[in-house]
Assembly symmetry: D2
Homo-oligomer: 339 residues x 4
């Protein structure tokens, strides 16, 4: 941490800051510059809220130096983590690019199996589908519950796809673990620390979606919560952020892919469906994600988007998915990856 | 809902959209304009995800007409709701402007009582304080738990202040209800629909903070979740949004105050501490909030911000709070309100 | 500037950075911390692009310490600047809060005089009105040109109001200076450095609007461009920023008022019309601006907003303005100011 | 345009809106729905500011139906425009993906020729370089001026690359046209309508960069300004937008690529250098851009980024560029394009 003093600060004000730094158990180092005096505070106290020093007299601002996360960072592990999903050999990370696809929500056995077979044939390794769906609107239907989980498990067995489904609260974790291969933490729950800790105590891989307006540090800290509980199998997932743009539901911030890879050993995949909100953009942004170095995508596929009960506007058809996969494979090869 | 067709669409494509509209149980009304044909869909189906029509051939986009919330809107109740907090007569809404203040987190009995007495003398009607604190960083300390709640209850009794404290999960609701007068739903939980429904089943007033990047519709829909369960006592709270600005922790969007008042009968207060992140801005933005028509503020006050365990940078001292209150009172009077 | 090295960097890589720092004419100071080594670069080289050091091996990032502006900062002048506008004694800054009002665009002599007399009677000190209007849409009408300037000058004489009007290009400066008392630099031109320099060579006060997505540093740097040319009479103006919010045309970031006052001696006013985009919000946000400590407001007033050729949606009527002014005066007094 | 009335509006208030619609020369069509009455206004009046109707009594809001641009849209021309740049056969658009590369700023003949030869050999078709550089900071050096243009022209002749350089004001247009093959309109000037019109009167292709916070409609309207003057050769360029993200200089919004292609016949390229601000991200985001369907990229290449006078942090070396080009070519082929 660097404490920047205001111009014109007095020696006793610098001393006061030095005392505050020492009270935190940190070493101090004062540098008198041409226009500013700064106090460098040395030592690893990531767990302290040191911003309070800002309120000391004549302090201009505090500049943190250490990133707030540690176990997910490359400080701890250099080589990329490869994460195994499900019992049929699916891998995400390292050389392996993996594609997960399926409907927003499980609507019926027929719908689910139709999609599952189609995406499996096209080369997906995972089947997504919501049994419990968070709905911003209290009047919307909210999913089939355990029946949906059972259907997912059946579809997974039939098609040899890993099942990826969202868990929305601490109480659901045990139930969802019975059926799912990968637990998804949704955007709305990225900051739900109790839930992060609970899934960190399971042995299932976690697919962690970035919060709508989460900073990169917050995204990595959410993963840190999970890994800290002993579960190292976290797959990060970019799904778009809120910006001023209105032609998309969210702005897909693909730069986060190289940014995460520079800072962390964890794999990162991309959700082009929520990340755009419009089916016509999904193929383009899926290709872009793989080209940017993402370790996979998770896409919404529905046999009849016009009549989908949720998220129809951003779901592509099985036909569109079938056409997309060879393009993704060619791009993966162009960047030295396997899909 | 209005379905806008692309230029050059064919009659059978318009017919196809008309069929989709009718399948939703809505009446259709086709308007052929100079450059665009639109299909108006008439009827109240707020509970349907109608965006899927966007994927029909030659549809350009869907424009919703009805707002997605209803019971919190002025369609249902014109006059502003006045909400009673605690047993000592505190009111928020209508003519009444109410101030809630206290430390970010309960640290000790001494700290809490010092602040409670100070803010009470200055004219506050509520005492805020965290017993369970969500921390973005897994290494930060996270509160005293039930001991903190007990201290809050004691301080409330001694000072005749209503106790406002955050409830972070469904499981905590019962416990927090034992001690608190107002349940706060934090920013990170505005989209936690299970929690919203659970607090909607209590008889405590709810202080609902806006999510970091929540739209106005989503903010009002979160309140709708609560009110739908039978609890009409919701106090909205603006606490800043994520933008490109870096000189603040969040950008305090005060225009939301007149915007909520135009659409809803619920009161809205402002959090100038989280809404800026810097103690030096808190007095200015508290004054601005009342001038904009807010029904109150909730501010962080700490006897020794330099040594606060959390949020010190945005906490003002009891002295600063004492100086602020008469200014707020004068401004409340200038806008025809009581404080 | 602080250069933060990556963990695991080698001594020769630190040395390489030290060399780069010295080549810039700065002194170096290496601090070896527990987890990070940093190189502090000492000396005032605000004029150098030092970010290139980021590309040196094992550099994590660059942290600037000095703010990039100087002559507009409190490092150079502590007491607030008070700026005189026009020949009728209008003042903005220090104790004085000043209100500027008028139509978006000069449409006719009748319209202009009606508004001018109305706002003068209510207590305004300046008359705004566009003669040349930037229009995002190439099909919109773009103003009366010099005829509009003449009408403004006549109205100013008749009502003893200072004339505030926008200058949009270097070539217009001379012409506009013949008629106007204050030159307005619009949002779209905040980064037009040639224009900033040109108006910096005039002896007219400059009203500088913040760019749509300008950071605080960029806003102050734009003022620095003007002051550097010798014109110290710059009035900053917040007019809203682009965010994800859609219920407003822009998000009015009132925290910028205390933020500018902490950093600079220049006065700052607020535009509640562009800053919201909706007439119904203008009174609330005008009051909030004064309460936040703004040195004035600039508001759009039109005798018949429904038929205004431009910006009708955000224009208030003379009657609404007349009702607003006593509220603003009461709030100004509550914060120790005169209006 | 659709005018949405508030619930509870009276027939005479609807009539009043109908009158306003007719006064604009539009036809009216009233639809009485279950909860809302709307007035559809029919006719093409893109050139009117119709938002003023919002201020009429009991109007809730105005919903535009027509997009505000026309000549750049697919309403006018379906097939994608292919734009020829320079005299050496470079093409951008249709099947052709084109790469433009070079230093941020022309620093010396040696520097420029080294880069020009390197990027030409690697397969670029254009050489970028700034002769006049807008600098946010008034203390930064601002380019070689005409000498820089001469060096660019020499380098273009030697290497058979089209010269792309920024024109910053109306007065510079004639001079820059003497030397450049493509005129670049920078981000800060996307809303400089006088400049857009002036370059629209030249016969040079225009590379139009998106404004920092420009909406998609504003971006296309800026192109409309140019095309309206007779110059149809506009190349759109995404270069990142301002968001809350701080690990990048700008957030590269690649979804704008399929969005522009859905709406317009104009080609669109991507600037991965300004669009990220960090050299380490440039290869990943260049690949992503081509995969998303962009018609090319414009990248900053500098022989010695550590010592670049400007934008060193985001410049890649000629070696990195040479390694990148075959990857881009493979991705172009994967999406059915030539590079």
């Amino acid at each position: 941490m660097i404490v920047v003093m205001q111009p014109g600060c007095k020696p006793e004000q610098v001393d006061h800051v030095v005392q505050l730094v020492r009270q935190l158990g940190l070493r101090d180092h004062v540098i008198v510059g041409t226009n500013r005096t700064v106090v460098a505070a040395i030592g690893d106290k990531r767990n302290l809220d040191t911003s309070a020093i800002e309120t000391a007299p004549m302090v201009e601002r505090i500049v943190p130096i250490l990133s707030p996360y540690k176990v997910v960072s490359k400080e701890v592990k250099i080589e990329p983590s490869v994460i195994s999903i499900g019992k049929f050999g699916g891998l995400i990370g390292g050389k392996k690019v993996g594609v997960i696809a399926g409907p927003c929500r499980v609507e019926s056995k027929l719908q689910l199996l139709e999609v599952a077979h189609a995406v499996r044939e096209a080369g997906a390794i995972g089947l997504r589908g919501g049994a419990f769906k968070p709905r911003t609107d209290p009047y919307s239907f909210r999913g089939l519950g355990e029946e949906g989980l059972e259907l997912l498990a059946v579809a997974g067995e039939q098609t040899k796809l890993a099942i990826v489904t969202e868990v929305m609260s601490v109480e659901q974790v045990e139930l969802v673990c019975k059926y799912a291969d990968v637990l998804q933490i949704g955007t709305r729950n990225m900051h739900n620390f109790g839930l992060l800790q609970r899934v960190g105590q399971t042995d299932k891989p976690i697919l962690l979606k970035r919060g709508w307006s989460a900073s990169l540090d917050e995204f990595l800290l959410a993963a840190e919560y999970i890994v800290n509980e002993g579960n190292r199998n976290v797959i990060m997932c970019e799904r778009g952020i809120r910006t001023h743009e209105t032609y998309v539901r969210n702005t897909l911030a693909l730069s986060v892919v190289p940014a995460v890879k520079r800072r962390s050993h964890l794999p990162i995949i991309v959700d082009p469906s929520h990340g755009t909100g419009h089916a016509y953009m999904v193929p383009a942004m899926s290709r872009a994600a793989i080209a940017a170095g993402a370790d996979g995508i998770i896409a919404e596929v529905h046999p009849d988007p016009e009549h989908a009960l949720t998220d129809g506007a951003q779901s592509i058809t099985p036909e569109a998915f079938k056409k997309l996969m060879p393009e993704l494979r060619a791009i993966a090869h162009a960047v030295g990856r396997d899909l």
